[in-house]
Assembly symmetry: C2
């Protein structure tokens, strides 16, 4: 850290270019409005001074931030990484910066991250988690757009872009029943979404005339490493399940490894179904049957919602159901 004099400001550039600060500002934000010869001088001055605009000042003055906050539970083993990666990429491309927050499963942490985001006057907060009343009240007093993704709450705070996890659970149940499975074992993580899928599955499975499935609970996030314990649970049971319903493809992968390690063949001796359609689902041997969620679509809708919001228009719908697709592969 050399002992720098002080970062050049708009005024320094203006003086150098022999124009007013206002003109430089206009040049920066909308080059078309300044005369070409002036623009040339300004460009030279910027080059010469090494000027980098102070976004803090700019955002304060213009009352907008071109920043978006993304709140997710985890980075490692996250079902959302693919979608997040897309969103972050597109946001950056459209000139927004992304502030990231890891909420874990703690409500307090979420609250304080929302507060921090609001404090920086982000244009939007994208959240994968449930929102507390506090979040609701903070957000609704603000000018920030709150976007919930990967689920569809009954009455979203701002905009929700996702799908019904209950329906996903239901469809998995139907699918397994159609394949003739008799004794599914359901692995559920301690998250609202996973609970919803479980509920959808259990309800439908029993509606189809079966006995309630056996189940295991794992903590968040649903990882590869949980497989060992889950598999042990299964081996200990009197009536062995014939298929395992997993909350993520990584867990499914783990189960396949465990099963094979124990000499079982997948799917012949034990079926395994994942969730999220992670790229590994199609790459594993056997390939993993999974539920695909169109992360790219979600990202696009999110971008559209943000664009609307930034331009002052209102996003057409408060809820966008992007659906899901069950992808049958080899593991079931």
């Amino acid at each position: 850290m050399p002992n720098l004099p002080k970062a050049p400001t708009l005024n320094d550039v203006a003086r150098e270019a022999k124009v007013s600060a206002a003109t430089v500002s206009r040049f920066l934000n909308n080059p078309a409005v300044v005369a070409e010869e002036t623009a040339v001088r300004i460009r030279a001055a910027i080059e010469l001074t090494g000027y980098i605009p102070n976004a803090l000042a700019g955002d304060l003055a213009s009352n907008k931030s071109r920043m978006v906050a993304v709140l997710i539970p985890h980075l490692e083993h996250s079902l959302f990484n693919d979608m997040i990666e897309r969103m972050v990429g597109e946001m950056t491309a459209s000139g927004n910066n992304v502030m990231i927050g890891l909420t874990g499963t703690s409500r307090d942490r979420t609250d304080s991250l929302v507060r921090a985001a609001l404090s920086r006057r982000v244009d939007a907060i994208i959240s994968t988690g449930p929102a507390s009343d506090l979040v609701d009240s903070m957000v609704s007093r603000s000018r920030t757009l709150f976007i919930q993704v990967w689920e569809l709450p009954a009455d979203p705070i701002g905009v929700a872009i996702g799908f019904s996890h209950v329906d996903a659970g239901r469809d998995i149940a139907r699918f397994l029943a159609s394949r003739g499975y008799q004794r599914p074992h359901v692995v559920t993580a301690d998250s609202p979404r996973a609970q919803n899928r479980r509920e959808g599955f259990f309800t439908e499975w029993q509606a189809l005339g079966h006995a309630p499935p056996s189940e295991s609970i794992v903590d968040m996030p649903t990882r590869f490493g949980h497989a060992r314990r889950v598999f042990a649970d299964i081996r200990r049971m009197d009536k062995r399940p014939d298929v395992v319903v997993c909350g993520s493809d990584h867990l499914a992968q783990g189960l396949i490894v465990e099963a094979q390690g124990a000499g079982l063949r997948v799917p012949d001796d034990l079926g395994v179904i994942g969730f999220g359609n992670n790229t590994i689902a199609g790459e594993m041997r056997p390939t993993i049957t999974s539920v695909d969620v169109d992360g790219a679509r979600i990202a696009r809708e999110v971008m559209a919602a943000i664009a609307c919001h930034q331009e002052g228009r209102k996003f057409p719908s408060r809820k966008v159901d992007v659906g899901f697709r069950l992808i049958a592969r080899e593991s079931v």
Copy 2:
């Protein structure tokens, strides 16, 4: 979006609490300096108005931002996620917000993300990638601390916290030689770090009197899915390798799956060694021999460097070598 009147400001709170704005500001930044009875009134006023400080204004006035930018190539399949997750967690805990940037492998993207970060006057930029001259010049004119992690450039721009990838490659070579392997196959990604490890491996392997290893090149990031092609490469060779050196544990995992799928036993028929000591390395069957990098240590050092910088002290060293540990497990 209700048509809100306008967010409450410090002045609104001050008026409500019947004190000056300065006092409220002091209360917010250093509660100890205001009298308790005043504090009570201020708290009530904040509660009543639903005031959320405007960090944009605060940061501008105080010329600090309590924001840190983290630049990584990818979110999916990243070797760094574990470290990043830790860092983000600690930063948030210490009151810093994190801006995230995905650089991919593009230098331009990196440059513009650095510019964006500087524009927001972040306190520090943490980067896992190589830094261009442009980055160097932008950063060194600024008051922002540039921290390179996971590697140790000869002459870091700011502070570097990492280890020698050449040494890691060398140690892997020694280890495999000591285990009696004869024909390693090296899988290298198109990244500077991976190249360094490759170089270290090749140099040492040949110094030990062996013929140069065979190799495959994969693109970034080094994923599970690359295994299929790499394994095909291997099967096509006249003299089959007896061990595969992978750039990540995910790739190693993929190779194990492929090898087993082809009826080979790991490690008896083919050894596999990973890199990064991801949690799956210890959970896979067989468990994966890998190189552990102490992400927690890196995160701590990063935090320390940032703390120093924010408090105006200088960080004791420009380079911190956190080393690495080869962890022998079952796959080799």
